[in-house]
Structure formats: C-alpha cells, structure tokens
C-alpha cells in the first residue's frame, strides 16, 4: 500500500529530524519538546507495525510521565544558554570520535548478527498467532503468566532503585513546622468559633 509506505517515511523522517534537533537545539526546553516529538513519531511507527499496545504505553510512560519530569526540571533550571554553548567546538572532536566508534561497533554487530537455528524450538512459552489473540492478551500471558517470576524480580530491582534515590536525597532538617493533618481533621466549629453578642457602644 502506498499510503502505509508514505506514512512510514513521514514518521521516520520526522522522528530522525526531531532527534537531530534534540541534540542541536540551543534552548534545553526546545530540546525536550523535540524529544517528545521524536517519541510521538516512534509511537506512530509502532502503530504502523501493528504493535498498538506498545505505542500507547510509549506515549503514556515516556511522553506522559518521563518527559513531563524532564520538562519540569529543565524549565526550573537557571542557566545561561550562551555560556553553556562555549565549550562546544572544544569538545566536538572527542564527542565525534566517540560517536564514530559507537557507529562502527553497531555496524559490526548488525553485520555479523546470526540467530541460532534451534532458537525457535527453545521458546518455553509459545506466542499465539496474531489472529487468535490481541496484542494485550499475548503480552499479558507472557509477562504475567509465563515469566511472572522475572517480572516480579524486575519489580524488586525498581523498588530498590527507588529506595536508593530516596535515601540519597532525604535530609532531616531541624526546626521545620509540619502540618498535623489529624489535628486539622479533628477540629470542630464549636471548638474554635464563639458567637458573642456585643452590645452597641461597648467592647467585649
């Protein structure tokens, strides 16, 4: 189909262009917004491949949650954009070298990629053909039924990472007055308001 091919090239082109702009944009906020555009186009590519669940999760998790945090942090930064750009030419050779090495490694890996002929027989959990189960059911069966222990283990890893982040940033400060929610909830109008009839011409 011509339309599918056109859509693919459109989304792929915009995704790569947005990726380039993430790196080259002068303003960090613009970078984050281009990153969001790149995420969107990747999600559209997933939809074209028939992986609609992955596409939606990409939007919900990366665009709806992770990129919001990025944007929050970048917007609050108080940095001088001109100053930040000063070392650009100085670091360009080193950065370019690292980029070329990574590209060469990737080309080598992809060029020598080989799948073992027995790989198909080693699959312990058969993946149902696409006409029998939707994306979501197939994924759910794999993650929550066949590989549930690995799923739980990755959950534990994330929990430990979260606890680590909290431990690293938690500081106990002295002399902070906190709201006591129980006290606030326990307050009644009778305890705090007194209706007084004040005769005119005299105080209480």
């Amino acid at each position: 189909m011509i339309i599918q091919a056109l859509a693919f090239y459109l989304f792929a082109f915009v995704a790569i262009a947005a990726g380039v702009m993430v790196v080259t944009a002068r303003n960090p906020v613009h970078s984050v917004l281009f990153l969001i555009l790149a995420f969107f186009n990747s999600a559209a590519l997933f939809v074209l491949m028939g992986a609609e669940f992955l596409a939606m999760i990409l939007v919900v998790v990366y665009v709806g949650a992770v990129a919001v945090l990025f944007l929050f942090v970048v917007m609050m930064l108080d940095i001088n954009f001109v100053e930040m750009r000063q070392g650009f030419l100085q670091y360009l050779p080193v950065g370019g070298l690292i980029g070329i090495i990574l590209l060469a490694e990737l080309v080598l890996i992809v060029g020598t990629w080989a799948v073992s002929p027995e790989a198909a027989t080693l699959v312990t959990a058969p993946i149902p053909p696409p006409d029998q189960a939707s994306n979501i059911h197939a994924l759910g069966r794999l993650i929550y039924t066949h590989y549930v222990y690995l799923f739980q283990a990755s959950g534990m890893v994330l929990l430990v990472a979260m606890m680590g982040a909290i431990v690293l940033t938690l500081r106990h400060r002295e002399g902070v007055r906190r709201q006591k929610i129980e006290q606030q909830l326990a307050r009644k109008a009778e305890d705090t308001i007194e209706v007084v009839k004040v005769p005119s011409g005299s105080g209480i």
Partner: protein, 347 residues
C-alpha cells in the same frame, strides 16, 4: 477508467467518509462547549438565586455566540519577552488534544469513528498529554504568575492521573477488554448492571473527584486561583489564543463526563430494558448521561470552597492512590476467588 474507479473506491471515498465522521463529532462537541458555558452560568445563577445571562436572545440563548464574537474581535497581544513559537503552540496543543480523544468514544452501537482494541489506553494517553499545553503556556509566557499556575496545574494533573489509571484498571478487570464498546456492552441488562451500582461504586466516586482535579475544576481549581495567581497559566493570553484554552478546558470536561458515562453509567444503554425506555435511541441516552455528570461538575462548583494545596496533594497521594490500589487487588482477588474472570476473547 478502472484506475479512476479504484482510486475513488480505495482512497477518495474512505477519506471523505472519515472527514465527514470527524465533522459529525467535532461540530456537536464545539456546540456543546458553547452551551456548556451558558449552562454553567445559568445553573450557578439559579443555585445562588440569581437569573444568570438573560439579555442576549431568548433566555440568554445567544450569549455564547456573543461571547465568542467578542473574543474573536479582540486584539491578540504577544508579550515582548515571550517565546513566540511555543506561546502560540500551547493553546493549539490544548485544543487539539481535547478534540482528538473523541475519535474512540462510542456514541451508540457501532457509532464510533475508530473502534480500536486499545481504546481506553488511547484515552488515557491523550489525557496524560494535557499537561503539555499548560506547561508550555506557563513557560513561554515568561511571567511569574503564569509559570506558578502552570507548575501547580502540572503537579495536580500528574498526581490525579495515577488514581484515574487504577480506577480504569478495576473496570477493565471486570470487563476483560480495553475496547470502549465492549465496556459499554458488559453493562447491558438494565440499571442494576451498571458499574456505578456494583461493587465498583467507590471507584465511581474516586473517578469523579479525580476527574474534577484532572480538569482543574472547582474545588480543585488552584491553577486558576484568582485571588493568588490572577488567573494562572493563561494570564498573558488574549483573544483567540485565550479562547482556544477555554474551549479545550470545557471540551475536556465533556470528555471526562463521557468517560464517566462509559465506564460507570452504561454508555448509550437505556436504564431499563422495556418499552418506553428502549424507544429512545442510544446517542440520546449517552448525551443525557453526559449532561447529568456535567451538572454534577457545576453543582460541585457552586457548593464547595477551594481546597488548600497541601490538602489537594494529600487527597491524591495518601487517600485516593492507596484506596484505588486496594480496590484493584480486591477486584482481582474477587474475580479469581469466585471464578468470574471474563473470557480472554473479548478484545
């Protein structure tokens, strides 16, 4: 000649069909937005023993059009130190996001523009993007009040999205499908089969309150707290850019009401499965249910004072999140224990 016919049948006709469908949805939504603003002023007026707008047209019925025209003829002012491109992009993003979500809403049996399997995930994804319009507006305005309002709004929307997600999961567990038509059909058979009158009732309440917070409505309208922030993230906007924010916000209210109607009030289904009720077509029942939920939105606004910010965060993270998480586990446990897990073939 055959080529022309093929071109017509494969490309032009489907495109025209889809564009027609989009217009059939967008025009009524925008009209409802216009009349929702009038309904809001009228309902709150009656609740406060006033008359509300009653001068323009009979019963003030032309008031929304007068308001729209007024905004249209105002001057568009761009603050000198603003970031122009993002300043213009922000209202467009808000407005477009509030409209594209309607693509998956079923108005009746088979009456849906895109009947996709991951319908509710799509809605959830779109509603989680609403933050961007507001953050971009707040940042691009380069103004303290706008930025503070945007930060408040973003924090609030992100917090309440979590509990909305869990509420949706409880319903999906009970239905066994992410498709919105399937969710409605799972509630067929009369009012006592609706999710609002099942063990999911507490989730209905949580969803409604979270919807108030998600759309920045009273009593959670802190982003627009007039007393502290002038008007929040949209202070610097004028004319049509302001109007697009306004339209987007009210279209989001209607969308949230539609989601409530689909998840808990049986969508297009009549409340009773016998004669006078089944004569009324599905889309009218759906519209009536949306109108009912919208009336609740307005009623809440006329009744409750604004929350304090720390109370708002406490309600979201310390009350709704544990409650909805517990309900997910309870529902899943109930379904497994009594062998009521819906069959997997649904979606």
């Amino acid at each position: 000649m055959v080529d022309m016919m093929a071109l017509w049948e494969n490309y032009i006709w489907p495109t025209a069909w889809i564009v027609g469908g989009i217009l059939m949805i967008v025009v009524p939504v925008l009209l409802s937005v216009a009349y929702l603003t009038l309904a809001e002023r009228k309902v709150i007026g009656w609740m406060q023993l006033r008359k509300g707008p009653n001068v323009v047209g009979p019963f003030g019925l032309l008031q929304p059009i007068a308001d729209g025209l007024k905004l249209f003829f105002k001057e568009t002012i761009i603050p000198a130190s603003s970031n122009r491109v993002i300043f213009f992009l922000a209202p467009v993003v808000t407005f477009v996001l509030s409209l594209i979500a309607w693509a998956v809403i079923p108005f009746g049996p088979g009456l849906v523009l895109a009947d996709i399997n991951v319908g509710f995930l799509y809605l959830f994804a779109i509603s989680s993007l609403g933050v961007y319009g507001i953050l971009m507006a707040g940042w691009a305005s380069n103004s303290k009040y706008a930025f503070l309002g945007a930060l408040r709004s973003a924090a609030q929307m992100v917090s309440y999205e979590v509990s909305i997600g869990f509420v949706i999961i409880t319903v999906l567990l009970a239905v066994g499908s992410l498709n919105l038509s399937q969710i409605v059909l799972a509630q067929s058979g009369g009012i006592h089969h609706w999710h609002a009158f099942s063990p999911l009732l507490p989730m209905f309440v949580v969803f409604f309150v979270s919807a108030l917070a998600e759309t920045n409505r009273a009593p959670f309208d802190l982003p627009e707290a007039e007393a502290e922030l002038v008007s929040g993230y949209n202070v610097e906007y004028s004319s049509m850019t302001f109007a697009m924010f306004f339209l987007g916000e009210y279209a989001n209210m209607i969308l949230m009401s539609a989601m409530t109607a689909i998840l808990f009030l049986g969508g297009w289904l009549p409340p009773f499965e016998f004669a006078p009720f089944t004569w009324i077509p599905g889309p009218i029942w759906f519209a009536l249910k949306i109108a009912f939920v919208l009336f609740l939105f307005l009623w809440v606004r006329a009744t409750f004072p604004r929350y304090r910010y720390d109370q708002l965060m406490r309600l979201g993270w310390k009350v709704f999140l544990p409650l909805s998480l517990a309900w997910v586990i309870l529902t899943a446990g109930w379904l497994i224990a009594f062998d009521q897990v819906p069959p997997a073939g649904g979606a």
